[in-house]
Symmetry: D3
Subunit: 312 residues, 6 copies
């Protein structure tokens, strides 16, 4: 892979294309406006200040624009900052596209689709199978593009599908080790648990919460969707209720947004699998940025802990 | 009103018909079975022990049977107990019916229906009006019969409708005092907020939780129902989402079973009105049983407080 | 009403008189002092930076001074800021007074006095009536001028009296709907509950906590005052204790500063009425600043929630 | 000291006078009433069952009666129980008085009075001295007789004064070690901190809460008393406020009943001294009943811990 | 498997050998002593009352004795109870041994030893390997016999080893799926995490806490053991510290008894694996006792939840 | 004592030597780097900004360097700041050493050693005595130099030993007042309770946490050390376990880092003594900086309270 911004050390000279992740206007102590921009490529991001910013600059260096920037990597309050020497908007001749700057899941769409399809195929209970397939088909495009969250874990293009694929593998392993688990319920729970995020979140880039996301949340959204799917497919029976409960309870506790705690075994295990995969993802991503013998930055979603990277 | 069990003092002789509220079998220290029965009439209930209980007794004095019992009111560990001298099952000639022993709301069905109908009639937003009317019609019979809970507050026949009617009056008063409140949202929120209980609970007598009640809860049940109603009535628009949010958030906090806290003003006020009416009901019922200058029993749903009845 | 600072949009030119709400000295990166001032009028406030501030400037633009300022409204970190072009202290010829810049309650003193007097007049228990009237008379001037708090809700001139008047209306409505409530206790509780704030707080402008406010708090202060009033009026009897308990418990819980939880019905309801009125005030004021379809800023005193303003 | 009930082992025969601490009526499985009585002497107490209790028995063996009982010490659910062979009410010829059966503080009234008087004498600030002396004189009799609590710690005759005397000794030691402490404030805080209990509690025997105790609590009661004392003594000045704050905050936290946390150093230390002395008392009393190498019963007021008595 | 007590329904006649699990003496309302005994076999246990118990009975039916009992299964307060018709102590001719009545892990000692040995064999880091092997050898006998807890989960003979073997399988599966995990650390953490229980607990039958268990707990005990093992083996290096941290932090939070939260990835995952296996064990055992469509008893260690057994 | 930085008022001219406590690089709005340095002497510290900082400046004014700085004391956001007019690195001719700028305990090493030695000498239990002496000898040098913490309390050179000496005095006073306390256990507990900090922390200057400190913490470190000491001294017996428990539990609760709550009386008292001395130290140091009638800054380790300094 090409050397990206995450690979540059303090003191090195940079000359790269970036996507502007965010851009905020400030007033400097000389009374003139300046811009604080976050520049990102596939490997990470870096902050930069653009002094004496004209209204034209504000437009050129707004969020979601592509730019070419040169300068030196410096350090400020323990974080890297780019001291910009030169910057310009990208132009068509540069041949760069937004997708070139976004972090994506390490599996291809095809691999992910196949993995999930295989699990649905293995289901023996046709009610569960039909509801799961129906909902996945209904939201397939978004499902394959959306991140799993706006921050914390799997916050990259296709993060949602990648999270589901990883969890399915863990679910399979656990179902092999604990044969009393109902494999159909567990697989379907994994596939559907966060699918409401395709309605809760705005999309794969500059992700924010939709009004429905704010007022209902992905859990309630998906519980409704399961009910509606069952109606459309004329499915009656405990399966509908069980799947709704799996989704409803997968945050594990009321305080964490589940109006009911898990009350069936597979729901309890679904919550734990979600935990395992989300934490592995957060930890791997945080530990990537530190050397053996060092501690990571504080990770908010892990009780603000700094994790240690062993030297062995 | 006729003198009921709640009006008898310790030492008085009782000779009354009762409904058996519950009946539990025990083994006495002489090795013989006995029954602990709770006997109720419209005014309250009292515990009694039936010693040396035969299998026939167990059947005759099971829950939901009507009996005639005579004996003396005694006190045991601070609670009244009936020392039974004579007991027999009621027979057809006695001319008593289950309904004679159930506590009911102090308003008639007609009064309650009219009060609610009037509020729906006053609504100006036709989307809110149609959804509210549709759901009320769909569940009207159960709505007019169910209690508002299995215990704590409004746990009597038609308690649910009575709770709603009282809350509507408070809502009306507050909307008069604070004109910025959206009256339609507030009225509809009051009417729908607990309607899911007709699915969550088993019915007006010996009320328990249904499987759907246990696994989803009345909040999620009703959020789904609103979504489905909107679909059936082909209503689109923010109203659907707002009503779902009102119901979703009316417990006020995640810990109390609302997956989202109130995020619109009317939802916050709905939560407070629910609180006011539930607490007034609990307090009035607890204070009824004590004299001025005394404290009530500890009320579990009010942080286990004993309330004082002033002498002024 | 005249157009005030709250009505100016980003980009507009301003030329207005203001009251300086606060003024803080800083050192700019060029080593020169500057002032950060908050300028307010009746409609709201705005921040401004005064660069290269001389000692004379510091004096002219200190808190509670009146100034005339011209400039452009800009936005910085999501909040408006005034880019000052010209500023000068007001002079006697300008004919402006501090009172012109303070937000005040929407009712006149006379209206508020009358409303409260009427409630006291309606009381039937003369002990409660006399204690209430005595304390109100004792602190009447401050009561009619003080805010209800330094921030969060009713933080404007006469906010305390306005809060009481609104609560009395709610109390009246609830007492009509729930006749078991003791109207005298409830009215007196409303009138006295926050009266200790006239000793806890420093006054209506630039409000801070007094030493007595810090070390005892308005609740304990008022409980003492009730005891003393009863002594001066030679009133004995449960009423004194009940009123002290109403004030003592009106925050509802130990964690919220009430050394006892409410143990009489009217105390529980007083706590809820206080809640309703404080929340309505906070919500109305926060929602005033946003357009339909938007969310408010996070409101600290409401668990940091952002509230949504519906479009219907 | 004479052998008391606490010194009898399981299996031993008892023949002693007792004070009835409490007496509760029950219905046995044969339908006959029985009494559960707690019998106490100075060393401790023991439960006994009186079967087939007549109305006369109920009167003879009511709380606060003196009885003579003989029987065998047995064990039931890990606690001792007296299997009564013979019991009769005491009569005048027996020459026994209630005081013979009550546990009392290990210091005489004179010793305690002297110890406290000495501390007041040492005070240099006359305002603090006069308020302290005034209040102590006002409530001296009750202060010297009351327990410090209904249970948990120092729950014996003169327990309140004994608790204060012990705390004064600790206060003196700490003031010697940390000279920055204001000795007058600290001594006065110790003497007054729980004095409100003479109004909060009903008296030295069969102690319960008074109405004032329930609705206001000893903290608020005493804060009022200090204010009133200052008024009567025409004392103005920060001392009044500081003493009120010491008492107000001595439970250390809002959750524990102090409407303000300690905000002066001596108040913080007062809270800790109270803790030290209460815990030492609870622990010494609990450990008295176990042998080295054993654990005590769970102590509710110490987070339900069982404490170990070392063998060294 | 032979039909055991858990397979008998209410109303059936029982005639079986049992191990007395516990025996408590009580006094019946006729003044005579009786025994409450819990009788267990491999399948479960049942309560019984032995009326009019002689001192000889107390000895014969004490905990850990074997008895033969005949009677009828009844139900009392929702739990089964054996109404004993006949009971006698077992005698040598009966040919029954304590081990016949104890629940044991479903794997043989040999299978468990092999499974663990294999994991140690696979370790690549010799420091980790040597410490793990050393400690396992040191405590092997107890490790293979002890339960994993006194109650809640894996509370049967060899429960500790069985818990470790199950967790190793999950650890292996996760290490396969998340290759960034350090397999040696994870395996060793699993093997050592609860090994301190062989010192904390008294043994495989009638398990209680030792003094060391009460005062230090199995976590601190094992951290010390690792330090001592490293010393004896002259191992220095980060591995010692990392293994100590794995054990120290495996309860996940301070409130749950870990003085440090997990600060390395493998420690976080160890905590989750422990959770998964303990919960699967508790849930499988609780669900075994109910039929499809029913709820289990409340499970204390799972927040007192009752779990539902689906009918699909 | 010579006038130090803490004694200079706003507006005064300073010309002093300082130790650089920390130095952080920033980028000014003109794009040039600057340094924010904290300059300390024995009396306190002050912030300063060094504009247009060259790489040479960064090196000269790094942490732990000594400098001579002249300028004026200003105030910025309520804290003093030094406006530097002139600054230069110290040179050998200046004759200043790092130790001249560090705050130290108010007792000499000799005084502290003697005080502790005396307590060990008084011990009667030779096992406790030998373990205590062994561990103190092992870590004596560090013990006499280390601070008791990186911040909050006793964060100065020799702070650890000084904290222990103060606590020993309180322990002695309490053991005199409460003769049931085991003096040997208590003294040893005081001496050893924080001794693990010599391994947890990096040293007396610019104190940070070591890896062992982060992953195990001083409590577990010391528990291990006691076990090892006992082994080396061939001491067996309950004393070892009791001392380990004293150290283990001295934070008082699981949430505060003690894996077990205190379960022996001396452990409970040790926790309280630690509290008293730490709080006295924090309060004395905070109150030193304010005048009578003022409040201190918020003290984080005391629930963020501001304490009042009385005027009496």
């Amino acid at each position: 892979m090409k050397k990206g911004i995450a690979q540059y050390e303090v003191g090195e000279q940079v000359d790269l294309f970036f996507l502007v992740k965010s851009s905020t206007r400030g007033i400097a102590s000389n009374g003139k406006p300046f811009l604080t921009v976050i520049l990102q490529d596939k490997t990470g991001d870096i902050e930069a200040k653009l002094w004496d910013a004209s209204p034209e600059d504000e437009e050129n260096y707004a969020a979601e624009k592509i730019v070419k920037a040169a300068g030196e990597v410096m350090t400020y309050r323990g974080r890297n900052q780019l001291k910009v020497r030169q910057i310009r908007p990208a132009n068509p001749q540069d041949g760069v596209r937004v997708a070139d700057f976004l972090e994506v899941a390490p599996l291809s769409r095809e691999e992910m689709v196949e993995s999930i399809t295989q699990c649905i195929f293995e289901m023996k209970n046709s009610n569960i199978q039909r509801i799961t397939r129906h909902l996945l088909n209904k939201y397939q495009n978004a499902f394959l593009e959306y991140p799993a969250a706006t921050k914390n874990h799997h916050e990259f293009v296709s993060g949602l599908a990648y999270h589901v694929v990883s969890m399915l593998k863990v679910a399979k392993a656990l179902a092999d080790l604990y044969p009393s688990l109902n494999r159909d319920l567990l697989y379907s729970g994994v596939i559907l648990h966060d699918l409401g995020k395709v309605i809760e979140l705005s999309g794969p880039v500059s992700t924010t919460y939709t009004l429905e996301g704010n007022l209902l949340g992905h859990i309630s959204i998906m519980v409704n969707e399961i009910g509606q799917a069952a109606e459309e497919l004329s499915i009656k029976g405990e399966e509908v209720l069980l799947l709704q409960h799996m989704v409803l309870s997968h945050h594990g506790k009321e305080e964490w947004g589940s109006p009911k705690k898990p009350l069936i075994k597979e729901a309890e295990i679904l919550h734990l699998i979600d935990n395992v995969d989300a934490k592995m993802n957060m930890l791997d991503r945080a530990l990537e940025h530190v050397k053996p013998g060092e501690f990571t930055e504080k990770i908010f979603a892990l009780d603000n802990r700094s994790f240690y990277k062993p030297t062995i």
